[in-house]
């Protein structure tokens, strides 16, 4: 079985994100970029499945400009066997990305697709769901545990009410949550090996997927700044101050 894992290049989670002065986006000048942490967990799970003998090959795929090859190489260094870059200079919205991933699925015929439950930049959490629908295969989202049993998988999902366990037939799309696993560290010699692993570049146009913009972003703004607080002497003053502000 082949496992396809989607990874996205995002602003690193340690970076203090800053909105550009004109509100057109966030400042990425000199900013550290990383693999989306949920995608890293997806890849770790795929590697563990392969290491347990339940898969033969793990393929990482990313859509973006050539800069995303850096994140694909990280995936290869973690242990993926090969990488595919869907080459595009446009930022793909979830629907276009799902369509592009479907074309890759048609070429590769994976038995399982694992994605992060969302990307930490736009927090859409849509691509996995859309992909499953387009592919007409089952989906198991927000997974914190997965057990493969031949042609199906038992997946524990993190839902509002607690944990929900479902069984899906394979092939399926699984999107993973934070508690699925803790990704491994990359071994130094594996970085060197990753440089020699195959990385195929497929222009988006070659997949026959049009870039659609169903969503329009109007502007970005930082959250309003918290007003300066005051120190109160006692409860009576607190109550008075709240009353003065019409809060009670």
């Amino acid at each position: 079985m082949k496992i396809l894992v989607g990874i996205k290049r995002v602003v690193d989670y340690n970076v203090r994100v800053r909105v550009l002065n004109d509100g057109s986006g966030v400042d990425t000048d000199g900013v550290k970029m990383s693999v989306n942490p949920f995608d890293e967990i997806a890849l770790e799970e795929a590697l563990r499945i392969r290491e347990a003998g339940n898969a033969e090959e793990v393929i990482v795929v990313s859509a973006g400009g050539d800069e995303c090859q850096q994140q694909l190489r990280t995936g290869l260094a973690m242990g993926a066997d090969r990488a595919i870059q869907i080459q595009t200079s446009e930022a793909l919205q979830p629907l276009s990305l799902a369509r592009a991933l479907l074309k890759v699925i048609e070429r590769e015929d994976p038995g399982l697709v694992i994605l992060g439950k969302q990307a930490i930049d736009d927090d859409n959490s849509q691509t996995g769901q859309m992909l499953a629908a387009l592919w007409d295969r089952p989906q198991a989202t927000f997974a914190s545990k997965m057990v493969l049993n031949g042609n199906s998988a038992t997946v524990t999902r993190e839902v509002d009410a607690g944990l929900e366990t479902i069984e899906v037939d394979l092939p399926a799309v699984v999107t993973v949550d934070l508690r699925m696993n803790e990704p491994r560290f990359v071994k130094l010699p594996d970085i060197m090996k990753a440089k020699r692993k195959p990385l195929d570049v497929i222009p988006l146009a070659e997949l026959g997927v049009a870039v659609e913009g169903n969503l329009n972003v109007h502007h970005f703004a930082p959250p309003p700044q918290r007003a300066k607080g005051i120190m109160v002497e006692d409860t009576a003053q607190l109550v008075q101050e709240l009353k003065n502000r019409g809060l009670i």
Binding site: D29, G30, K32, P183, V186, L188
Partner: protein, 532 residues
């Protein structure tokens, strides 16, 4: 414990700063077949680099002749120099000494420049590994340095392997270059082991703190270089500020003070914030926002404190050795020269022996010799130092005497019998409010489940002698509030918030008992500076 995996290189360089990267680039230019690797503890190249920085471009011209057509991302020619002597509210313009004339120099972000240099090095097939910390030295059977050992990852707070445990590998190389920057933890060990400092004065340091601001449009005058002395420091504390005006409404502002200060109650971080409150500076920053902030120690000992820079199998270059020119307040050009010189020497001789002689005959040390008496002249206070500095400058360091340099850890006065100067510090309103607010802008991150990388060799001293003698100065000199005294069931004890650490090394230097030992945390930990 299994045998560690081994990777072999011809040259292993520890630290991807200007010295290490210059060395790597030059080595591959001269000998393309050499296998050269650079390891760097920060999560990506430049993330632990903090500097002003105004740089002299001459070593860049030598190393990368076409660089002006493809300059580093932030690179602004200096247009004008100003030096101001501040009082609490007033200011007086001072003449610019020749060392501080910056015509022909550039204002850069040294972090961004290192990242840019790393790309050039990779294009020459240097293997660069950010996120991997050299935790130890690998010695060969004859006792010489034979490479480094990368730190283990995934070790718990208790020292036991976690699920993600990954053993660090050994990198073997006949030549190891230590370019760790100021007070490198491996350099420190090797200087001691090989007694490299037995013929030199102790090293002396400063602490530099920096903030990168985006200010209101029109407040930044790209190319303007300003320095200040005076307020808020007393005349017995050496230091001052830099204000470098960048493009895109950005200003890099920083404050440096000598770590030989005497007052145990002194807090360098607060001195920086007080300086920002001066009307001249406040007016510039008001209404702006901080983009990044951090701190780093600076080696100020210069000529007198330069240790031997070679030992069997290894060289120490750049700020790890201490080649910064204090009156110029510049170290980048010196570090790069060291890197180039080391590479040329290795390319010619395929060995380390003889490098120290070459370094001492080079422009690097000639430059340090000329200004050798300026920093120690300030031991006797600002004005006496100022006059001596002027004399040394006019005579270009040709007077025969050489002042000696003292160590910083002994400079602190005990509380008993010491009257601290009345600092007249004021309430202030610009951010950051305090050190924790400042650390936020350093984006520093350490996995909390790892051994504490700040080792206290004799913990009893903290809650006994140190309380009485110095009132725990670590709780004040650390710019990231790593050290706190807290009440517990066993009495008042030191708490180490190691996750806040910005890797500046001040504690390792200034602790009066020398019982704080800074070792590297897990690779990839530490600050994530942006354009610093």
């Amino acid at each position: 414990m299994t045998e560690r995996e081994i990777m072999e290189y011809d040259v292993i360089i520890v630290g991807a700063g200007p010295a290490g990267l210059s060395c790597a680039i030059r080595l591959k230019q001269k000998k393309p077949d050499l296998m050269v690797a650079v390891i760097e503890k920060s999560s990506e190249i430049g993330a632990h680099i903090l500097s002003g920085a105004v740089i002299e471009p001459e070593p860049l011209d030598e190393l990368l002749p076409g660089w002006r057509d493809n300059p580093p991302p932030i690179c602004i020619p200096v247009e004008r120099d100003e030096i101001w002597l501040l009082s609490q509210k007033g200011r007086r313009r001072l003449p610019t000494p020749p060392q501080q004339k910056n015509h022909g120099n550039y204002i850069v972000s040294l972090g961004a420049m290192c990242s840019w240099m790393a790309n050039q090095a990779e294009a020459l097939e240097v293997d660069i590994f950010p996120g991997y910390a050299a935790a130890d030295i690998r010695f060969t059977e004859d006792g010489s340095v034979g490479g480094v050992i990368i730190g283990d990852m995934g070790v718990g707070r208790d020292g036991q392997p976690r699920d993600t445990y990954m053993q660090g590998i050994e990198i073997h190389a006949p030549v190891t270059i230590l370019s760790e920057g100021v007070r490198g933890h491996l350099s420190k060990r090797l200087i001691k082991k090989f007694e490299l400092d037995k013929d030199s004065d102790p090293q002396t340091y400063g602490i530099g703190m920096k903030e990168l601001w985006r200010v209101q449009p029109g407040k930044s005058k790209p190319g303007l270089v300003q320095h200040t002395a005076g307020w808020p420091l007393d005349s017995h504390t050496y230091g001052g500020s830099f204000i470098y005006h960048l493009d895109k409404d950005r200003i890099a502002i920083g404050f440096v003070c000598g770590l030989d200060y005497q007052d145990p109650e002194f807090m360098p971080f607060e001195a920086f914030q007080q300086m920002k409150n001066h009307p001249m500076v406040h007016e510039m920053l008001e209404g702006g926002e901080i983009l990044s902030s951090g701190a780093r120690a600076i080696a100020e000992g210069g000529y007198q404190s330069l240790p031997r820079t070679e030992m069997p199998g290894a060289l120490i270059i750049g700020d790890s050795a201490g080649t910064l020119n204090v009156p110029k307040i510049k170290g980048t050009h010196q570090a790069m020269r060291c890197g180039i010189l080391a590479a040329d020497h290795i390319a010619e001789t395929s060995a380390v022996a003889g490098f120290d002689r070459k370094l001492r005959d080079s422009e690097v040390v000639r430059e340090l010799y000329k200004v050798r008496n300026i920093r120690p002249a300030f031991y006797k206070g600002f004005w006496r130092g100022f006059i001596r500095a002027a004399i040394e400058t006019v005579t270009a360091g040709k007077l025969p005497s050489t002042l000696s340099v003292h160590a910083d850890d002994g400079a602190l006065r005990k509380l008993e019998g010491y009257t601290p100067p009345d600092r007249k510090w004021v309430d202030r309103d610009l951010p950051p409010r305090d050190r924790l607010a400042s650390v936020y802008f350093a984006a520093t991150a350490h996995d909390e489940d790892q051994p504490v990388h700040l080792q206290i060799l004799e913990p009893d001293i903290c809650s006994t002698r140190c309380v009485e003698e110095y009132n725990n100065p670590c709780t004040r000199f650390c710019p990231a509030q790593v050290y706190e005294m807290v009440d517990s069931a066993e009495g008042r004890q030191l708490q180490i918030n190691s996750a806040n650490c910005v890797h500046c090394k001040t504690c390792d230097i200034k602790d009066p008992y020398q019982i704080i030992n800074w070792v590297t945390p897990e690779g990839g930990s530490g600050p994530n500076y942006q354009n610093m």
